[in-house]
């Protein structure tokens, strides 16, 4: 019977200590928020969460990708198809973007469950990811964070099953972003909470309890979208949810991550869940929607996933508010890649497998792996005898490196390396690493990242990161 077969999360390791927003020095252990670094955006975070979710699951079995975000950078062009290509999925995979509301993350998850339940697909990957921009030093700068969450919904998924859901529509102008706006706008905060967040969430949860015949005490865990810490606590009180059963909304650690927020908190709740328990999930945006999930036996199985907890442990605080501004592209630099003509669309098409998928090729005669696929083999000189060989899900090690202080970056240097993976040498940047951690033979894996904004749009490739 249809259910969640796996889940995964991604929280960027870069953190902005909230004290820096007010120009105060950061204190160890003080509140912070997770921010996408300069080479990350909602797409790269989505791919990372999807990889965390999929583990060793056979990717060719995925029938559809549903991508939810309010911050996909292009108005016309899909994010889901880019994510599917980065994950090296089948060419006949169905792809769809969900957007326009912070509720689009849970909309995608619900749609996936319904599609699988209806027999339209066997395995659907759902990824929610957001990277919303607050006006620097504005009211939302301390609350908005960046993260992604992913779920695999399968015909035989046995981690959790959706038992009931209840929506509440509420048209009002509380939080919005118009076409061309860089930053999220909000009406007066008390209005947002008193007329929007509070009543809508109560209505959705109330509807769920009525529909399902469950009482609030039947839920072992409640993962509730939080507008901010205070209104979240107030909502829990009104819903009579015990503090011990309330999923920590991660304020002071991650922040409000928009379209991915309710699903990220659901992931965190699943990490501590036991078979037979129920989890309440409620998302918000233009109204609210509440979901009752029942935890299955699969939750006890072993997993390689890093999940929310694993990502919270990996932290790299920014050194200054300036470096935050630079990493978000909010400061002028002499090197403005965005003004150039950008990549050639024809070259980008021809190199798609290598550039987007990190897919190389193994020689059918001597098995030597090459990246990208050439015509003639380095070792045995056989011509055009190749089988596809995906490198993105393999691990490798560094054979050479340099610290490049010349290439534009918010915090130079850029670490340029030659990594060996399956015997194949790849020229690749190393990310998420302090220079003194870099050494020969450093074990690495690969992560999808933004390389630059040439042509005024994001251009992606992979980077190595320490295992």
């Amino acid at each position: 019977m249809t259910g969640i077969a796996s889940f995964g999360a991604y929280v960027p390791m870069t953190r902005l200590p909230l004290a820096m927003i007010q120009g105060r020095p950061a204190k160890d252990g003080g509140p912070e928020k997770a921010v996408a670094y300069y080479d990350e955006d909602c797409v790269t975070m989505a791919v990372a969460a999807a990889v965390d979710c999929l583990g060793a699951f056979a990717r060719e079995r995925i029938d559809a990708v549903m991508f939810a975000s309010t911050t996909y950078p292009l108005r016309e062009k899909q994010g889901a198809v880019l994510i599917a290509t980065a994950l090296d999925l089948r060419r006949d995979v169905e792809t769809a973007d969900f957007t326009g509301s912070l509720r689009c993350g849970s909309d995608a998850l619900k749609s996936a469950v319904r599609a699988v339940a209806a027999g339209a697909a066997e395995n659907v990957l759902v990824v929610a990811s957001d990277c919303r921009m607050a006006v620097p030093r504005g009211a939302m700068d301390a609350t908005l964070g960046d993260a992604a969450a992913a779920f695999l919904v399968s015909r035989d998924g046995n981690l959790a099953k959706l038992r009931a859901s209840s929506a509440f529509a509420n048209e009002m102008q509380d939080v919005w972003r118009a076409d061309g706006d860089e930053f999220v706008h909000s009406w007066e905060d008390r209005f947002v909470v008193q007329e929007g967040y509070g009543p809508a969430m109560q209505a959705a949860v109330g509807g769920l309890l009525e529909k399902s015949g469950l009482g609030i005490g039947d839920f072992a865990r409640a993962a509730l979208y939080a507008h901010d810490a205070r209104s979240h606590a107030d909502l829990a009180r009104r819903l009579e949810i015990e503090a011990a059963r309330l999923q920590d909304p991660l304020f002071g650690r991650v922040g409000n991550t928009g379209a991915s927020y309710a699903l990220l908190l659901f992931c965190a709740a699943l990490e501590g869940a036991r078979p037979g328990e129920r989890v309440l999930v409620a998302s918000y945006g233009d109204g609210a929607e509440a979901f009752a999930f029942e935890i299955g036996d699969g939750i006890s199985g072993a997993s390689q996933r890093r999940g929310v907890a694993g990502h919270l442990d990996r932290r790299r605080p920014l050194r200054s508010y300036d470096s935050y501004l630079r990493s978000r592209g909010l400061q002028q630099t002499e090197w403005d890649a965005g003004t150039g003509p950008g990549l050639s669309a024809t070259i980008r098409l021809r190199e798609r497998d290598a550039d987007i998928g990190l897919v190389g090729a193994a020689c059918e005669v001597c098995d030597t792996v090459h990246f990208p696929q050439p015509h003639v083999c380095y070792r045995c000189h056989a011509r055009d005898r190749w089988r596809r060989h995906r490198l993105s899900d393999k691990t490798g090690e560094l054979l050479a490196y340099t610290f490049d202080f010349f290439f534009p970056a918010p915090e130079p240097p850029v670490v340029m390396t030659i990594a060996e993976v399956d015997g194949c040498r790849v020229h690749i940047q190393l990310a998420d690493v302090a220079p003194d951690q870099v050494r020969l033979e450093l074990p690495v894996r690969f992560t999808f990242r933004k390389i630059h904004d040439a042509g005024g749009k994001p251009n992606y490739f992979w980077k190595a990161v320490p295992l």
Binding site: G340, T402, D404, F406, G423
Partner: protein, 380 residues
């Protein structure tokens, strides 16, 4: 090929940030110096073909024909990364050695300083292979070489100090300033382990040589210089080569094998008296000592310490200060090295003269690096 072609004239303009000189100004200056040096008074009749080395965007061969007013004969551009100058020389030498031409002009020139940036251009036209800077590519052997042989940035710094010193003795060099090891170690970092002084600057420049049939050389001048060998070799890309060990640059090893065979050289350290090596970065010069077979792999550190490659050493390297002092107008560099070696062999190198030099080698390496060019010259 050996001893079939001779160099009978050389010319070189001052290298530097030649803000007030055009490409035409520099190529005419170098070519007419070489004409005068060879005693050529009527290039219209005496130059059968021109081979040019140039890599920066240009107006192609027409600008050469128009600058030199040489029409009705072949003029070609040759491009082979930083070995471009040496490859242009190879085309000229082979054309003469094959008996196709009697006398040719080889002209290397480049003018990167009209671009408005002091280093390489930052590439945003692709997503793979970035950052794409020569300093990044040439530094890739550093970590492994340091680990394996115990060398460090201090050893590299001594190479920069040596070349800066030699550059003070060369009239056409750009940088005429002594530096110290501390200057090198404390300079701002470009691409580890290369600080500013580990890198050759970009500069403008042009150099020219006149190549003629060996049996006609005496009609130009008595102290002509013979071409013993000129080689070009391409190697695997070190960034993708599945067997690369990051302790050497294979292009140099390949090109050296060819050149020594052509020249009949069995023991390069004993048989070569002076060498101009491609010190685009200090580590490139260090690896070249070994890759050219001057010394054993891993022995550079002790030879740097003992001064083997200084002007007073057993095998002086970069007697004019190299790319470090001249900068690196890519197409001109290989020809500039041949200019210096010809002066050394004729005994005209002034205060930087290597006494009794009879065999001289010049070396360029470029690309990822993947291409190497080597020229060996000798006295009859």
């Amino acid at each position: 090929m050996r001893d079939k072609a001779a160099i009978v004239g050389v010319g070189c303009c001052k290298f530097g940030e030649n803000w007030d000189q055009s490409r035409e100004d520099m190529m005419v200056e170098a070519a007419y110096q070489a004409y005068a040096d060879a005693g050529i008074d009527d290039p219209q009749k005496q130059i059968d073909a021109v081979f040019c080395g140039v890599v920066y965007p240009n107006f192609s061969t027409g600008e050469v024909a128009d600058a030199l007013r040489l029409y009705g004969r072949p003029i070609s551009h040759v491009q082979n990364y930083c070995a471009t100058g040496t490859d242009a020389f190879r085309f000229g030498v082979f054309g003469v050695a094959a008996g196709v031409y009697d006398t040719v002009l080889v002209l290397g020139y480049d003018k990167p300083k009209d671009r408005g940036v002091s280093g390489p251009t930052v590439a945003f036209d692709r997503v793979r292979g970035l950052p794409a800077t020569p300093a990044g590519w040439f530094s890739l052997c550093a970590a492994r070489y340091f680990d394996t042989f115990g060398a460090d940035r201090g050893d590299l710094a001594k190479i920069a100090v040596k070349n800066h010193h030699n550059g003070t003795l060369a009239p056409n060099s750009m940088l005429k300033r002594e530096i110290t090891v501390d200057d090198v170690l404390n300079a701002r970092m470009i691409s580890w382990p290369f600080g500013l002084y580990d890198c050759a600057a970009q500069s403008d420049g042009a150099a020219a040589v006149i190549v003629t049939r060996a049996d006609r050389a005496k009609s130009f001048r008595d102290d002509y210089v013979l071409v013993k060998a000129v080689s070009i070799a391409l190697s695997e890309n070190p960034q993708s080569d599945p067997d690369f060990d990051f302790l050497r640059w294979k292009p140099t090893e390949y090109a050296a094998r060819q050149a020594y065979e052509m020249a009949g050289i069995a023991n390069p350290f004993e048989e070569i008296d002076v060498a101009q090596l491609h010190d685009c970065f200090t580590l490139t010069e260090l690896l070249s000592y070994e890759d050219l077979g001057f010394i054993e792999k891993g022995a550079a550190r002790e030879h740097i310490a003992s001064g083997t490659f200084e002007l007073t050493g057993d095998l002086p390297v970069n007697t004019d200060g190299g790319l470090k002092s001249f900068g690196h107008p890519t197409g001109a560099t290989g020809v500039r090295m041949i200019y210096e070696n010809v002066l050394q062999l004729r005994g005209q190198a002034g205060p930087r003269q290597v006494k009794g030099a009879t065999t001289a080698l010049s070396h360029n390496i470029g690309g990822a690096p993947q291409a190497c060019g080597i020229a060996i010259l000798g006295m009859p």
